[in-house]
């Protein structure tokens, strides 16, 4: 049998997760917070970190992965330095969301689901961002950009190096 990897979570990650446990009556309830803590520091959730979280929260690693893979905003594969989520739901679609995604594709060479060659952007669709009154909208690393045209979207992305 192989020896388990020593440090699957950094001490900082583990400490931050431990603090979240106080908010819930059961350990596993902190798993979304734990996945997000790791992702904030590493950009995504690699297998070793998944095992580390599962150990810390006393849950089977497969059950944790079933949770991790369920959500739109937990990344189980490496992503670029910036993740661009473009809203593809109805209000943004009515207001020209397809043209925004097409411009990003054309300019950075990324189709939805892809990361560009120098690892700058990952482009992913996302359901309704709740910004329908200022459609179309994009979420970049959690920042909302609204009232977009293809030009304005490209301009907004230029600030993310």
């Amino acid at each position: 049998m192989s020896v388990p990897e020593a440090a699957m979570l950094t001490p900082e990650e583990a400490a931050e997760i431990e603090r979240e446990l106080a908010h819930y009556d059961r350990k596993r309830a902190a798993c979304i917070d734990a996945l997000k803590i790791v992702q904030r520091r590493r950009g995504w959730v690699p297998d070793d970190a998944l095992r580390g979280i599962a150990d810390l929260l006393d849950m089977p690693v497969d059950e944790l992965d079933a949770v991790a893979t369920f959500y739109n905003l937990i990344y189980r594969r490496p992503v670029g330095r910036h993740v661009v989520h473009f809203c593809d739901s109805v209000s943004c679609w009515l207001m020209g969301a397809d043209a925004i995604a097409a411009r990003v594709h054309e300019r950075y060479g990324v189709a939805p689901g892809e990361t560009d060659a120098d690892g700058r952007f990952t482009l992913l669709p996302i359901p309704c961002l709740g910004c329908c009154d200022r459609a179309p909208a994009l979420l970049v690393d959690g920042d909302l950009h609204a009232d977009l045209t293809p030009d304005r979207a490209a301009e907004a992305l230029e600030r993310y190096r």
Partner: protein
């Protein structure tokens, strides 16, 4: 005209801090409830007000609360959850409240938790609402410092812990039993009802899940009473409503107006009518999972019963408007793409049926449709309809489809006979 939900909200400005909120009369309902009212009194006040759930289903809030076990023998702890997982496409009303007046939600939760005998409460917030999360977190901190949350609130025997949980993005988490699964750290799969969450909810304990807008009404009902609340409305459904409009109207936005305001008034006066050169074709009255309404319905009041009579649902009250230059088939394809992406995966009709529906709509839109396809789609509106699936996800998905097949039939047929989209 009174606008109790949005009275403190100033567009483009940060929300009131705790001190300013108190100066504006905030937290009076907590004071009043704790000093002068028993939990049963609060429950009765909410029942008498006729408040119906603002998350989409319109279930009477007081009745929902009344199923919560009470008295010394009732299981503890009991939980209250604010459903702030606003992900219904076309819906952005709770964001307005969360960003604009977080203390109102907190106050509503304290008073509601008191009525329910809940000692722990969670706000279940979608992760994409970053500004709302920041403001809510700050407001919870302020409320705790000022003694509105925590042990023995303002010297009373009542204690409440309030936590903010940010989710990680899935539509199904808005379904209350799926939300409970998600909060427990499980895959967000809906649960069988009964038992209802009021009896067996979070970690098996009594739990009430209410929408943000619903909870924000509670302090006002406690302060001003049932008659005042009913008087706000123009219809048999009480209160005001946060309505909204998106799509190619002149002024998309959200407005607090008397319940029962007509669709025409919303569309023409508040949203400013259609953009120049475009004509109104139809709308979804309350989010993606509601049936289309058309021209002949414009004078209907936007309340639960009136919209239901027209074969649709008030839903969230935020309308999505279709114009005459946009292809209705393509719009329904976009809606079904969303629904096909977001099932929990548990039950077969929904998991397998929705992608098939999306596929057929895609074929029609791309000019590869066959006459038989419309029958197939009709068949699915029945197979994925109410009673055939584990939860309301697939039936909700069928609402815009079945109504589009009815009102925009000629558009579907033209796609098939001309073998192309006539709008391109």
């Amino acid at each position: 005209m009174e606008r109790p939900l949005t009275a403190n909200i100033r567009p483009g400005e940060p929300p009131l801090d705790a001190e300013a909120y108190e100066r504006a009369g905030g937290y009076e309902a907590v004071r009043k409830a704790l000093r002068e009212m028993s939990p049963e009194d609060v429950l009765e006040a909410v029942k008498a007000s006729g408040l119906r759930g603002r998350g989409g289903a319109g279930f009477p809030t007081g009745q929902k609360w009344s199923f919560m076990p009470r008295g010394d023998d009732a299981p503890t702890p009991r939980y209250l959850i604010a459903n702030a997982d606003e992900m219904e496409p076309g819906t952005f009303k709770d964001r307005l409240l969360l960003e604009g007046d977080p203390h109102l939600l907190i106050e509503g939760m304290i008073v509601s938790a008191y009525a329910l005998g809940a000692t722990t409460a969670y706000v279940f917030l979608r992760d994409e609402y970053r500004l709302a999360a920041e403001r809510l977190k700050h407001a919870i901190g302020e409320a705790s410092e000022r003694g509105w949350l925590g042990e023995h609130i303002k010297g009373s025997p009542f204690s409440l812990e309030l936590h903010l949980h940010t989710s990680a993005g899935r539509y199904i988490c808005g379904e209350e039993t799926a939300l409970i699964s998600a909060l427990e750290g499980r895959r967000a799969i809906p649960r069988t009802k009964p038992p209802f969450p009021q009896l067996v909810g979070l970690w098996g304990k009594p739990t009430v899940v209410n929408n943000v807008e619903t909870l924000c009404n509670v302090p006002h009902i406690v302060n001003r009473g049932a008659d005042w609340f009913k008087g706000l409305s123009r219809s048999s459904d009480a209160g005001t409503k946060l309505y909204g409009a998106s799509g190619k109207v002149k002024r998309p936005g959200a407005w607090e107006l008397p319940m029962g305001t007509t669709i025409r008034e919303l569309l023409e006066e508040h949203a400013g009518g259609m953009r120049d050169g475009l004509r109104f074709r139809g709308l979804l009255p309350g989010g993606a999972s509601t049936d289309f309404l058309v021209e002949e319905h414009l004078d209907a009041p936007m309340d639960f019963d009136s919209i239901q009579k027209l074969g649709s649902r008030l839903g969230t009250g935020t309308m999505i408007v279709l114009d005459d230059r946009t292809c209705p088939v393509a719009m329904v394809r976009n809606l079904e793409h969303f629904f096909a992406q977001e099932p929990c995966g548990w039950c077969t009709p929904c998991r397998d049926g929705l992608p098939y529906v999306e596929h057929i709509l895609g074929a029609i839109e791309e000019g590869d449709g066959r006459p038989h396809d419309l029958d197939l789609l009709e068949m699915h509106t029945r197979y994925l309809g109410p009673g055939r699936t584990f939860c309301a996800h697939a039936p909700g998905a069928m609402e815009p489809l079945q109504s589009a097949l009815h009102y925009f039939r000629a558009d579907f047929e033209r796609h098939i006979t001309e073998r192309r989209c006539p709008y391109r």
